[in-house]
């Protein structure tokens, strides 16, 4: 009899404590190019996502201001990360996404840098009902498919195209003649998407698109592209290139002694720390886009940058920043969902409403529309002056004066 009561008490106690043991870790899968031509950017993105998870898991109590720090909604649970290398290859991206979903049993995915890989990988996630948060791929087609499980935090190709045109118009008002524009773009989803939106925006805003030069990103030589540009003499050149090709372009521009008056680089290669390290001294004045700024000393962005620098040896840049921001958005949704179930996380993502003060990037907020795109994303333009990029446009966000024309190596 005593034994039966004892067993009964223990059973009841277990039933109650079963409810209290709600601390469940949530597994998130990260897909990035950790080898291959974009590996340096991929490794930075991985470090950024890891740092975000450390912050959210409560490892750095003095970093306040980011949503979901401490993960109260998970009642003691933490976020666990597991990464896969897609090597820049869309079909590898798909098989790795499948592996993360089926074998590693992740509740959500984040990635994947190259638009072509993100486009392919999100198809797999959609089929298996796993939410995928896109931090940095900008090709328009990623959120144009009626998918319910793809959420993109970053601004997209068409946003940037109109930003560049507004920038060029402002430069015109400063007295620098700007009539003709040339675009040089790598030919996967990323480059062609941006080039398409640029074509539209350039025409709409009254500029003259005198040359469009597509090329393969892993090319070994770019002298013919530069010679074509030298022939046409555009007032502004917009490069849409990854890291290795950007390095080649800057070197070839110097070697063939050609300085376009305005050089705009569409993030990617121009934001990779390898760019400044390897060709920074010959690319003075290159304009880039970024929603990341280190901010004043003591601000939360400065603290995050310090932690990132201690971890990797590099400052944060727009690409690592956007991925980190996406991870914070995902963590916030996981926190509100309070569960590791993909459906709950998806529902929470759909209800995301973050204000600019809760963000580390210069967006106007985070709110997803029915296609999964953040409608409040924004960017500003930065310029390479000396060894750093400084914000030069729009005027109200500028921390330094714009230097036109492109200096190159002076």
């Amino acid at each position: 009899m005593k034994n039966l009561v004892g067993v009964g008490v223990v059973t009841v106690a277990m039933a109650f404590s079963g409810g209290a043991i709600a601390q469940q870790n949530v597994k998130v899968g990260g897909l990035f190019p950790l080898s291959g031509n974009a590996a340096s950017a991929g490794q930075q993105a991985k470090a950024a996502v890891e740092l975000a998870v450390d912050i959210v898991n409560g490892k750095y109590p003095d970093v306040t201001g980011m949503p979901a720090v401490g993960l109260p909604g998970l009642k003691g649970g933490k976020i666990e990360l597991t990464f896969a290398d897609h090597q820049g290859n869309p079909s590898t991206g798909q098989s790795q996404a499948l592996r993360l979903i089926q074998q590693e049993k992740v509740s959500a995915l984040i990635g994947a840098y190259q638009s072509s890989v993100t486009f392919a990988g999100t198809q797999v996630a959609e089929r298996y009902g796993t939410p995928w948060v896109v931090g940095d791929s900008v090709a328009s087609n990623i959120t144009g498919r009626g998918f319910k499980f793809t959420f993109r935090v970053t601004p997209i190709a068409s946003d940037f195209a109109y930003n560049y045109m507004d920038f060029l118009n402002d430069v015109k008002k400063m007295g620098q003649p700007v009539k003709t524009v040339a675009t040089v773009y790598e030919n996967t989803d990323y480059g062609t998407s941006i080039a398409e939106t640029l074509r539209k925006a350039i025409k709409e805003k009254g500029f003259d698109l005198i040359a469009e030069i597509p090329y393969a990103a892993n090319t070994t030589d770019v002298s013919s592209q530069v010679l074509q540009l030298k022939d046409k003499k555009p007032d502004a050149v917009i490069f849409v290139s990854y890291t290795s090709d950007t390095i080649l372009y800057m070197k070839t521009l110097k070697q063939l002694d050609y300085k376009p008056p305005i050089v705009i680089g569409d993030d990617s290669g121009f934001s990779d720390p390898a760019f400044i390290k390897n060709v920074g001294t010959i690319s003075q004045g290159a304009v880039n886009r970024s929603a990341w700024d280190i901010g004043k000393p003591g601000s939360v962005t400065a603290k995050i940058n310090e932690l990132f620098k201690a971890k990797t040896g590099y400052d944060m840049d727009d690409t690592s920043g956007r991925n980190m921001q996406a991870m914070f958005v995902l963590a916030d949704a996981i926190n509100r969902a309070g569960s590791a179930k993909s459906d709950a996380i998806q529902a929470a993502l759909q209800k995301t409403d973050l204000k600019p003060e809760q963000l580390m990037m210069g967006y106007k907020g985070v709110k997803f529309d029915e296609t999964g795109q953040n409608t409040l994303a924004a960017t500003y333009l930065i310029q390479l002056q000396g060894a750093n990029y400084v914000a030069v446009w729009p005027e109200k966000s500028a921390t330094a004066k714009m230097q036109i024309p492109f200096k190159g190596s002076e």
């Binding site: 950790l34 080898s35 291959g36 031509n37 590996a39 340096s40 991929g42 490794q43 030919n187 030069i213 597509p214 090329y215 393969a216 892993n218 090319t219 070994t220 030589d221 770019v222 002298s223 013919s224 592209q225 010679l227 074509q228 030298k230 022939d231 890291t243 290795s244 390095i247 080649l248 070197k251 110097k254 070697q255 063939l256 002694d257 390898a274 390290k277 390897n278 060709v279 001294t281 010959i282």
Partner: protein, 286 residues
């Protein structure tokens, strides 16, 4: 005017292709063996140049010389350690062994040097030579010049020296060579050493104007194969001519048709040539 610049740039580019292809054609012609790790040998040369410049503050003679010597030794080690054994096996084993070696070297590079892109400082071969409006980058000029010298050197070595005739003897008829007192193993090891050394020199020179990253071997190797097949297996002067030709054709088609099409033109010509003349431009008949 620009067309002349395009052709000049194409010739320089082609000389670089010839530079790293000469080693490959030597092995291919001599031993009927395809070294899929050739691109990675070039890569090792690039990293040696990087290390010598960064840590020893060495000049071009030092880093090119070091690359040549170290890779010569490496080639011999690879021969005795891997190739000699694999040559006794089926063709598939031969192909896969150097392919595996390529992957091993590439990912060792990733592990040791990380994925970051590295470049050599601009000051090694500074400036651009301006001949009447045609710009020729100094690093590319040096690489082109060295390509010519190396091609000539290997060609003379093969045709005019004793060791050269011994190498050729082994490739023609191994048994007969043995009867003449030539040790085939030693000759083939030397051939590997030479091939690796020229790849190393190519890498060290290319590093002065290209970027260094573990995946560079892949893209360079593909071009090397095309150049070697085009020029004819085993013909070192053939590799030079083919390299120059491909460089010019690539540049012209990129400029006139668009950079996207340059590879189509080159590979279409390649297929056409092999159809008409399977042994390549200067290859010896099978």
């Amino acid at each position: 005017m620009t067309i002349i610049q395009v052709i000049a740039s194409g010739l320089l580019l082609g000389a670089v292709y010839a530079l790293f292809s000469s080693g490959l054609t030597l092995i291919w012609g001599m031993m009927n063996f395809i070294n899929f790790a050739h691109g990675e040998f070039v890569l090792i040369g690039m990293y040696i140049a990087f290390l010598v410049v960064t840590y020893l503050n060495g000049g071009p003679l030092l880093f090119v010389g070091t690359a040549a010597v170290l890779l010569f030794g490496f080639g011999i080690v690879i021969y005795y350690g891997l190739i000699r054994h694999v040559m006794r096996g089926p063709i598939l084993a031969q192909i896969l062994s150097t392919f595996g070696l390529a992957l091993l070297l590439r990912y060792l590079a990733f592990f040791i040097f990380k994925a970051d892109f590295k470049t050599l400082p601009d000051t090694i071969f500074p400036g651009t030579v301006n001949i009447g409006g045609i710009f020729l980058g100094m690093p590319q000029l040096v690489a082109g010049g060295v390509a010519l010298v190396i091609t000539l050197g290997i060609h003379l070595l093969l045709k005019r020296t004793t060791i050269g005739s011994q190498l050729l003897a082994v490739s023609e008829d191994r048994q007969a060579a043995m009867l003449m007192g030539i040790r085939p193993d030693r000759m083939q090891a030397i051939a590997w050493g030479l091939s690796a050394a020229s790849a190393g020199v190519a890498g060290a020179l290319i590093a002065t104007f290209y970027y260094i990253s573990p995946t560079v071997g892949e893209s360079l190797a593909l071009t090397a194969f095309v150049v070697v097949a085009f020029g004819g297996f085993g013909s070192v002067p053939g590799a030079l001519v083919a390299g120059l030709l491909i460089g010019v054709i690539q540049s012209l088609s990129a400029y006139l048709l668009g950079p996207i099409y340059k590879d189509i033109v080159v590979y279409a010509m390649f297929v056409a040539l092999l159809w008409i003349r399977p042994t390549g431009l200067f290859g010896k008949a099978a």
